[in-house]
Amino acid sequence: MSRSSGGPETGAAWLFLAPALILIGVFFFLPVGASLLLSFTDFDIYTIAHWQNVRFLGLRNYIELAQNATFWLAVRNTFYFVLVGGPLTLGASLAAALLVNSRLVRFKPFFRAVYFAPFVTTLVAVAIVWRSLYHPEYGLINYGLGLLGVGPINWLGDPLFAMPAIILLAVWKNFGYNMLILIAGLQAIPEELYEAAYLDGAGAWRQFRHVTLPMLGPTLVFVGLITMIGFFQVFAEPYVMTQGGPLRSTTSMVLLMYEEGFRWWRMGNAAAIAFVLFGLILGGMLLQRRLQRERVP
């Protein structure tokens, strides 16, 4: 096992690995490599007509993206969504997990199911309901705000409020899944720790701060990472609610990529956007790992 490089065992190992490696190679690395190549070309419908209608552009797609105001707007919108929506989702799911896990709560399975329901509901169906909730004149949300003396807000029609509206929907839709994972994490915390803390005179807040949070750390990091990756790829929510409008205030990077690629068939451009997004997500993950390592020596 120790130093058998080149021995028969290595050959056998490769043989056993081969099916998986071939599958990963054909269905993952090959397409990824192909789309990386694509991002250096101007592959589009003229290319479909005739393969000679393709040019190798080097980095021109990326340079043009850097000069494209719509792309920067999409980057800004995506970060807005991730940086505001991500923490909100985490907060909501942690709060829900603590509530559902609390000993004082009855009918726990019922609440778990209720909170989890939005996650498994079809987004298109949800969107119809939320669109009427957000309606500027007849919507329930504006009606409620009206009772508090707040004037009507054109939620999906005003560039200022469209993104918050989308974020609210996304938080509501997604917190249930994280909640479930966090509940599992909470239940793995040994009861003795709380008893010890209680005997040492720790109140509810200090128990939460010094027992729950540290013990939940790895779970929180995992949930945070998954949420971040998912939120960077936001597409369906703006696609069904606003089609990226008004004034492109809800156009995310993936939505822009979809439009470029599948609506206008400008595959080179779309592939370039995909790789910029890939870079951003990778950067986000590395940053998160860095922060995590600094906190836990």
């Binding site: 479909i48 007509a49 005739h50 000679q52 004034l247 599948f262």
Partner: protein, 431 residues
């Protein structure tokens, strides 16, 4: 993305099946139809099959939203059908791909189809240069739907036919209805309205054979200025379709008195407006900047096309001819409300005499196509996005048009390159 691939794969398998059944005596023709028309065509097929023993028609129906992607993937995968219904704004693109069969020889030998039996502007949308790539199936254009009572209250007995008269009427309406209500609804996320106004003042929209944008030219600037003025002076609300949950309800409430929209709304208005309102709405051809000859609208609709790789062209062409007969055109109208492309169908049925249809009959004689370049839909989308920047984002109109042209020129860069290769002798555009 997974969905898209799966759908494409499904499309290929299905198309593969239809191709392989075309053996022994019966010929199977595959037809791709979209939206409601794709459903309706199934009801016309039995009659065709009765008249053409030995020919079976396999209809595949899919939604409009999936059509573009499906056609392109089918082309790449060598799985195009024998014939299809195709929105005429996509003809340039599929013709550029070389996917479509030129129809000039087929039409010149046909006893059913003759260009004289169609609206000229609509027929023209199927021509790329002199080559015909489609036969109009049903037609579509935009006219004004308006509230007769509101217009009459403002002192106008009928819709004016010039821009200046139209603007005066809208101002009069605005004074009558007060704030919170509007003379006209021009959804800020639709490109048809600004582009129609551009066509009306005679803007080519693109210049040099579709190589550059012509939006910052004084001609288009005039139309753009008029369009923006309707918002600036408060005659039109700065709202898109997404901001108005139910435009029919708002029209019924008198939130706006005019709406530039298409024939599909004839049926919707009859269905969705309350009974007491049914006598109060009417349609009118669009006004023009300088009277009738300039009062053009958009030449839209769907055509029937044959695919170049079809093995069953004669049988497929017989189906095209069958669907082009006036009586079949009228059946499609009865089943869907789609306006017939054949003028004989209009005359035989006295369709044009109905008050609400008459505006369409008049307008269809005055329609112009959009530029026939594959990028036309993307460019049209840019137009409303830049207009929206002015209306809702406070940008200066001249700056928006200059930026629009820059953007359009960037989009057309590939086209210029391809065309330059064609002119330098290398045959690349069409295979």
């Amino acid at each position: 993305m997974v969905n898209a691939t799966a759908m494409a794969a499904l499309g290929l398998t299905l198309a593969g099946c239809t191709g392989s059944t075309a053996s022994n005596r019966t010929t199977t023709v595959s037809f791709w139809g979209m939206g409601r028309e794709g459903e309706v065509v199934q009801q016309l097929v039995p009659e065709f099959e009765r008249q053409n023993p030995g020919v079976r028609v396999h209809v595949q129906q899919f939604p409009f939203s999936a059509a573009h992607e499906k056609l392109l993937t089918a082309f790449v995968g060598d799985a195009t059908p024998d014939l299809a219904q195709l929105g005429n704004s996509w003809i340039a693109e599929l013709a550029a791909l070389g996917a479509l069969e030129p129809l000039n020889p087929w039409v010149s030998h046909s006893e059913v189809i003759d260009s004289a039996g169609y609206f000229r502007g609509i027929w023209d949308t199927n021509l790329i240069g002199d080559t015909l790539f489609g036969v109009p199936w049903y037609v579509d254009t935009r006219v004004i739907f308006y509230r007769k009572d509101i217009l009459a209250n403002a002192g106008f007995s009928e819709m004016p036919s010039t821009w200046s008269g139209w603007e005066r009427a809208m101002q009069a309406i605005q004074r009558q209805v007060g704030s919170g209500r509007y003379a006209i609804f021009l959804p800020t996320n639709e490109w048809a309205q600004p582009l129609i106004l551009g066509l009306q003042v005679g803007s080519p929209l693109l210049r040099d054979g579709g190589r550059y944008g012509a939006f910052s030219d004084p001609t288009f600037e005039r139309a753009f200025g008029f369009y923006l003025r309707l918002f600036r002076t408060g005659l039109a609300p700065p709202l898109g379709n997404n901001d108005i949950a139910n435009a029919y309800q708002e029209f019924a409430r008198g939130r706006f008195a005019m709406w530039i929209t298409g024939p599909w709304n004839l049926g919707e208005f009859r269905r969705r407006l309350p009974p007491q309102l049914q006598k109060l709405w009417a349609t009118a051809p669009l006004p023009g900047p300088s009277g009738d000859s300039s009062a053009v609208s958009l030449a839209g609709g769907s055509s029937l096309v044959l695919f170049r790789r079809s093995q069953q062209k004669p049988a497929a062409w017989r189906l095209v001819e069958f669907l082009s007969r006036p009586e079949q055109q009228l059946r499609v109208y009865q089943l869907t409300g789609d306006l017939p492309a054949s003028t004989a169908a209009w005359r035989e049925s006295a369709l044009a005499d109905s008050a609400q249809m008459h505006a369409f009959w008049v307008q269809l004689h005055r329609v112009k196509p959009l530029p026939k370049v594959p990028e036309v839909e993307l460019i049209a989308t840019k137009v409303y996005q830049y207009a929206e920047q002015v209306i809702r984002g406070g940008q200066r109109p001249e700056a928006a048009l200059a930026e629009l042209d820059r953007d359009v020129n960037r989009i057309l860069e590939k086209r210029r390159w391809v065309l330059s290769r064609v002119s330098s002798g290398r045959e690349v555009l069409v295979r």
